[in-house]
């Protein structure tokens, strides 16, 4: 086994879930790394869409923002933002949407708006962005989020984005077109919804991680799926390509930008 960080393992585990040709609505951070890793390894024909309007982009380095010039320069085309949301996402032309959040509950509902009350928040977070509609319209969503009892909570402070609502078919009755959060990739392994109740259960652990670690990191009483799989450690090639990507990104972002004077 090659030594790696949990963040690298999360990224690699998420990239393995993506298939060649899949149309993917990408978010900044870990999802962007995972999607580009998939493109550079087993899924060269993956179609990456960033909400800034870049369709079919092939960035050589990871963008810091959702709208870096690198994404536009390497895209098949760049379209106005309203088109991305209405003609592509809402029209059902996205296979996988990636989401992150500050809080997730046991039914995969997400909060990225406030900690505390809305009107007098303890911490004001960035807010919804594209998430509510990505969650509704992408055929399925993957959530990437490090686990702690503060982030995997029994009750959200604010529901920014609907997952399975109260579970037991509530989402299917709500009229949302997409299937919802099918995988939650976290830093001990993965959770997936129970087929009937849609409660998120432990479905896979990183090789060598114990179930107690998962239970301690989750704020609700975590149940186990009928079969808890093992997620293989990163292969040398996966790690090498991911680390090269990060190294290229660091070098590019460290390049001083000439002031436009």
């Amino acid at each position: 086994m090659t030594a790696c960080t949990r963040e690298e393992w999360m990224t690699i585990a998420a990239s393995r879930l993506l298939w060649d040709g899949c149309v993917c609505f990408v978010g900044i951070g870990l999802p962007s790394a995972a999607c580009n890793l998939a493109r550079l390894t087993h899924a060269p024909e993956i179609v990456l869409i960033y909400e800034s309007g870049t369709l079919g982009t092939h960035p050589d380095v990871l963008p810091l923002s959702i709208g870096d010039g690198e994404l536009a320069r390497t895209a098949a085309c760049v379209v106005p933002l309203p088109e991305i949301f209405s003609y592509y996402l809402q029209a059902g032309r996205v296979d996988v949407g990636f989401l992150g959040a500050a809080q997730i509950d046991r039914y995969g509902n997400l909060n990225s708006t406030v900690i505390g009350s809305y009107d007098a928040p303890h911490a004001r977070l960035p807010g919804a962005g594209g998430a509510p509609e990505i969650a509704a319209h992408a055929r399925q969503t993957f959530v990437m989020l490090k686990a702690s009892p503060r982030s995997f909570v029994t009750s959200l402070d604010f529901r920014t984005t609907a997952g399975y609502l109260q579970g037991s078919g509530a989402r299917a009755r709500s009229g949302a077109l997409g299937r919802g959060p099918c995988s939650v990739i976290t830093d001990f392994g993965m959770l997936a919804p129970h087929p009937q109740t849609q409660e998120l259960q432990l479905c896979a652990l990183f090789c060598g991680v114990h179930v107690e670690e998962a239970r301690a990191a989750v704020g609700w009483p975590l149940t186990l799926a009928d079969h808890v799989g093992i997620i293989d450690a990163p292969e040398a090639r996966e790690l090498e390509i991911l680390r090269d990507l990060h190294a290229r990104t660091r070098a590019a972002h460290a390049q001083p930008v000439a002031l436009p004077l």
Partner: protein, 284 residues
Amino acid sequence: MSARFLTLADAIAEHVHDGACVALEGFTHLIPFAAGHEIIRQRRHDLHLVRMTPDLIYDQMIGMGCARKLTFSWGGNPGVGSLHRLRDAVEQRWPAPLQLDEHSHAGMAAAYCAGAARLPFGVLRGYLDTDLPAHNPGIRSVQCPYTGETLAAVPAINPDVTILHAQCADRQGNVALHGIVGAAREAALAAKTLVVTVEELVENLAPAMNAILLPHWIVSAVAHCPGGAYPSYAQGHYERDNAFYLHWDAIARDRASFLAWMDAHVLRSVDHRDFLGGLLEDAA
């Protein structure tokens, strides 16, 4: 009516008034920083600011007391973290309380599209089972007259003034922009008044088949302002200064360091060229 060529200071003085609803658009790319700084220099206040992603420019304007209300859909420093001045205004009401009109990107895009078409509201399949409508009375629902389906409705956004930064304008005041355009076109067409800063003035623009061109008769004022999007960027001219966005986190985290930076760089500079010159001296 043809576009008028003004200095940026004159364009802001003439078109941006206290209390107005103002949208400085540009999704990560082509953010009109120079115009935002000029609004700060001219001490405009009580503005209703509209932007999908407030970004550093609204962090600065909010922290300097320009705003009473913010319409937005994602308020972070992209790839970095919080907008500390926006947070301080919401959490501690500093320097003034800030009323929020909060949306999702899809909702705000629909609101701009409706505004551009002069329709009263935008419609989308959105906000489904989220807490946003409970905190924003503008987000409502409407029934499809054909199928009975319930859809989300958002009120049209029609800013008093939209301000954009673009790559190019010609002698008539036609404005061309390319690269990531976000909802710039919709925000421009939704506005009562459109002010544009540009990197470059040219004699004539090439015919713009399928490109984004804002025709001179919807443009109120053009100001030539090279570098006017910095530290955002202008595709084909200069890159986004990602290091500045990272550095802003430390500047804006603290009220005193924020005010000192704004005073030294924005208030004490006479225009955008002077502002950029100051940053160059800092770097030397």
